[in-house]
């Protein structure tokens, strides 16, 4: 893998250019993952921009992003590759009588009948690639074993075809909401980045860069209110995306100060559970 980034500052600048404001931890870890050629494991609560980070890296490095969304029950056939058995059956049924089994066999286990899934596709690409393995914690433990194998050597053995090795190592990002502890073995092979909600300054900068028309004062009010909401024990704390949505909504409604009335009427943009809204109204003395 050729490194994509020249220095930590280069990472920060190029991510910034595509609209992702990276702090020191993010910039350094992305830079190291790129330089050392190691997968990057990003862990943190929902809505802090984990998936967004890998998209930004892909755009900044002018790479194509391939995404593997994990879920319970994900298996090798969905993650790595699968034989297109329907097509194989058709091929057998369409075979003429004088076909020898050997040729048919070689024929149906060829490239034409292979369905590559995200992991294999990422490995076979020649161009720069970012492989995003999203929400690893949702997948079963067996998938971790598969990932270990693939991510340590970047090669896959398909019995009928031989070994496929990555011609160019993809930049791998794994994300996790920490709903379960990932195995030590997987963590050891990755660089680790814990993403949390940004500091007030950084979040304000994010809002200002995403919603450029917003007055600075309003941006600050929105960010401060969102932080107050996050300090409560809510079912679902507002994400960065929701902060941006709120700012956009207020702007669209032509509201220039976030006062009680404005907050109550637009609270649904940031809080999506009724019980959360009730609680926020109570604690922030909105009425």
């Amino acid at each position: 893998m050729q490194p994509q980034f020249a220095s930590v500052d280069d990472v920060r600048e190029r991510l910034g250019r595509v609209g992702y404001l990276a702090d020191e931890a993010i910039a350094t870890t992305v830079f190291l993952a790129d330089r050392l050629g190691k997968p990057l494991l990003v862990e943190g609560p929902a809505g802090v921009g984990k998936t967004e980070l890998s998209k930004a890296v892909a755009t900044a490095a002018e790479a194509e992003m391939i995404r593997l969304q994990c879920y319970e029950g994900l298996d090798e056939a969905r993650a790595l590759y699968e034989w297109n058995y329907k097509k194989q059956l058709l091929r057998i049924q369409a075979a003429r009588d004088d076909d020898v089994w050997e040729t048919t066999h070689d024929d149906i286990f060829s490239e034409e009948f292979l369905l590559p899934r995200p992991l294999l596709s990422a490995m076979r690409r020649d161009g720069a690639t970012v492989l995003l393995i999203d929400e690893v914690d949702k997948a079963d433990v067996e998938v971790e074993g598969l990932l270990l194998e693939v991510l340590s050597d970047f090669q896959v053995t398909i019995p009928e075809l031989g070994t496929v090795a990555a011609s160019r190592r993809p930049f791998v990002v794994l994300t996790s909401n920490a709903s379960r502890e990932l195995s030590e073995a997987l963590k050891r092979r990755c660089l680790y980045l814990h993403l949390d909600y940004p500091t007030a300054e950084r979040e304000k900068a994010i809002v200002l860069s995403r919603v450029p028309e917003i007055p600075e004062k309003l941006a600050e009010q929105v960010v401060r209110t969102v932080r107050a909401l996050r300090a409560m024990e809510l079912k679902k704390a507002p994400s960065i995306a929701e902060t941006i949505d709120w700012a956009t909504t207020l702007l669209a409604l032509g509201i220039d100060t976030l006062d009680e009335q404005a907050a109550v009427s637009t609270l649904g943009v940031v809080l999506k559970h009724l019980s959360d809204q009730v609680r926020a109204v109570g604690e922030l003395k909105l009425s």
Binding site: V8, S179, E184, Y192, A200, R224, E260, A263
Partner: protein, 467 residues
């Protein structure tokens, strides 16, 4: 500047030694750092500018520290082994005369800094505050640094009202804006306090030498904090830990359900699906199994001696309530009451806790634990609570103040339940001492488990609860 890994000069060898000492200190503190990760960290040295301290910190964190709960220990040790002002001692040299600056004058500076809210200036002011107020000289000519001296002299908490007024800048002094401003102020003050703490540790390290501080500065990891001795800040951290634990437990139970879901062959659907493959049934389809609904009955002692432990188990209960319909919780001190109703999903736990204590009927005689009476009453009042499908979880220290243990009552409960476990927050070596009835009770339940910290609770959850 970048140091190519192959050309480590002598100063870089020194850096390597320091890194290895640092890794050893991390391992001492309970972080499992593998050799492969140490190699990664060393490689990282070659890639980044090691004179950029923040970069260095993050690079080492990315390679060595892979759990968020360990990050504080990591940061503490990092500050000790890679102190900030190695090359820039200006702040230390022009240490102002402690008599020269009055705390009042400094409070004004602090107030302005907090109002501004810039994290860098907050850290700088914290360092100044420590050099002004944090030093304590002893008679032997030695001196030490203390965070509490700084915080006592400056008492930043008393600035809250003034800062809120400043932030509102003439706006309304009540309601929504005030609440938001208060949150902002509290957060900034906490930042300041943390910065003071970090700076004190740094100075101690300079005075004592690295290894001595590394030994004294380490607090136990959150997973290992004793429930019965947790401080208030520990409690907050612990609560964060218990939620994922409950989720994990729930995920485990549902995963188990998924595995069992393959029921009998669904002939009709299998034949139907085989049409797509020319009549060859390549995939068999199965009828879903009826989901097994586990019952969980939690019976917990909420008397004073184990209250902080009860807090966590109740937290676990409330998290479980969101996943399972059939979780019933009962609390007792010397009599017993059902508290399930206080844990409706989405409710504030602190609220629920205080309502349990205030409203539930828990005290019958004198407010000291009486296990025997409580068990008896539980069996009488809620005869239908325990069925052959129930897992019974009893939480308490089994200290019954020498009262009748109620062996028969407990025996009838455990014989009816499918499983019964007892979680005891006391260290194992204190069991069966004094008024503890552990020996009697341990024989009656399937197993009595020592459960003093989140680590042990997690171990119990993953190993023992095959509901």
């Amino acid at each position: 500047m970048t140091v190519p890994a192959g050309e480590l000069g002598t100063w870089a060898t020194g850096l390597l030694d320091r890194e290895l000492q640092f890794v050893a200190a991390l391992r001492n503190a309970g972080l499992a750092v593998s050799s492969a990760e140490t190699v990664d960290a060393t490689k990282a040295f070659g890639e980044i500018d090691v004179l950029e301290r923040d970069s260095l910190r993050e690079a080492l964190a990315a390679t060595l520290c892979k759990r968020p709960t360990q990050r504080r220990t990591f940061d503490t040790l990092f500050d000790v082994y890679f102190p900030a002002r190695m090359g820039d001692g200006s702040l230390l040299d022009d240490r102002p005369d402690p008599e020269g600056v009055a705390p009042e004058a400094f409070r004004d500076l602090l107030r302005n800094t907090l109002l501004d809210g810039d994290p860098d200036s907050i850290a700088r002011v914290a360092a100044q505050a420590v050099s002004l107020f944090g030093r304590a000289d002893s008679q032997s000519g030695r001196h030490a640094w203390f965070a509490y001296r700084v915080l006592r002299q400056l008492s930043p908490d008393t600035l809250v009202a003034a800062l809120i007024a400043d932030l509102l800048a003439g706006g309304k002094a009540d309601g929504f804006e005030e609440k938001v401003a208060r949150q902002t102020v509290v957060e900034r003050i906490r930042q300041f306090e943390e910065a003071v703490d970090a700076d004190v540790r740094r100075r101690l390290a300079e005075d004592l030498g690295v290894d001595a501080t590394a030994r004294s500065a380490i607090e136990p990891l959150v997973e290992q904090v004793d429930f019965l001795r947790a401080s208030r800040s520990d409690l907050v951290e612990l609560r964060r830990q218990v939620y994922p634990l409950a989720r994990r437990l729930a995920a485990r139970l549902t995963a188990r359900k998924k595995v069992e879901q393959q029921g009998r062959l669904d002939f009709r659907r299998t034949v139907r699906a085989s049409l797509a493959t020319g009549g060859v049934p390549l995939r068999t389809l199965h009828k879903p199994k009826k989901p097994h609904k586990p019952d969980l009955v939690v019976l917990c002692d909420v008397s004073g001696s184990v209250s902080s432990f009860a807090h966590f188990t109740l937290l676990l209960v409330s998290a479980l309530r969101e996943q399972f319909s059939k979780v019933r919780a009962f609390a007792f001190i010397d009599t017993c009451d059902e508290i399930t109703r206080y844990f409706t999903p989405g409710l504030d736990l602190a609220d629920a806790m205080s309502r349990v204590v205030r409203e539930a009927d828990l005290v019958w005689f004198d407010g000291h634990s009486d296990y025997g009476h409580s068990f008896g009453l539980f069996g009488e009042r809620y005869p239908d609570a325990i069925s052959p499908r129930t897992s019974l979880l009893i939480l308490g220290d089994a200290r019954s103040n020498y009262r009748a243990p109620g062996i028969d009552a407990l025996k009838s409960l455990t014989s009816r339940a499918r499983h019964s476990y007892w979680l005891n927050p006391e260290p194992r070596h204190q069991w069966a001492t004094g008024d503890s009835a552990t020996t009697i009770y341990a024989d009656l339940v399937d197993e009595m488990v020592e459960c003093r910290n989140v680590e042990q609770l997690a171990a119990f959850v993953t190993k023992l609860l095959p509901i």
